[in-house]
Symmetry: C2
Subunit: 77 residues, 2 copies
């Protein structure tokens, strides 16, 4: 894994954090995944350790939970 | 403000996040401030909108609260 992955669910907190992260690390360095539009990705996100969105997975596989938008349970509903 | 500022308080969650952030955005692009060692900086952090550490202030002045280490109230005590 060489890119970071940014998981979000389209909430205002998520969108704001997405813009900040893209500015900080560059759009070429991060894959953005909208879990509301791509519910099939929720299982992978959970396996990576994501508990809430927005969250950033680093290239090393660490999970950074940023601010607090919504728990994954809420995204599923 | 052209650099980001990363506030932390030396807790394990903070140190782990610090390493991740430095790898992601580069050590030249972020000023690291340990609020436990520099309690005089707590007031400025609060004015910038920091509620808990670790937190990253972007060059645009947005506050990204990352994971959850400690509230600023806990850092003061």
């Amino acid at each position: 894994m060489t890119k970071s992955i940014f998981y979000h669910a389209g909430c205002p907190v998520c969108i704001s954090a997405e813009h900040d992260i893209v500015k900080l690390i560059g759009s070429d360095n991060v894959e953005i995944i909208h879990l509301g539009d791509n519910p099939e990705s929720i299982e992978k996100a959970e396996k990576l350790g994501v508990k809430s969105v927005p969250a950033l997975i680093t290239p090393q596989g660490n999970v950074l939970h940023i601010n607090f938008g919504a728990s994954l349970e809420e995204v599923k509903n």
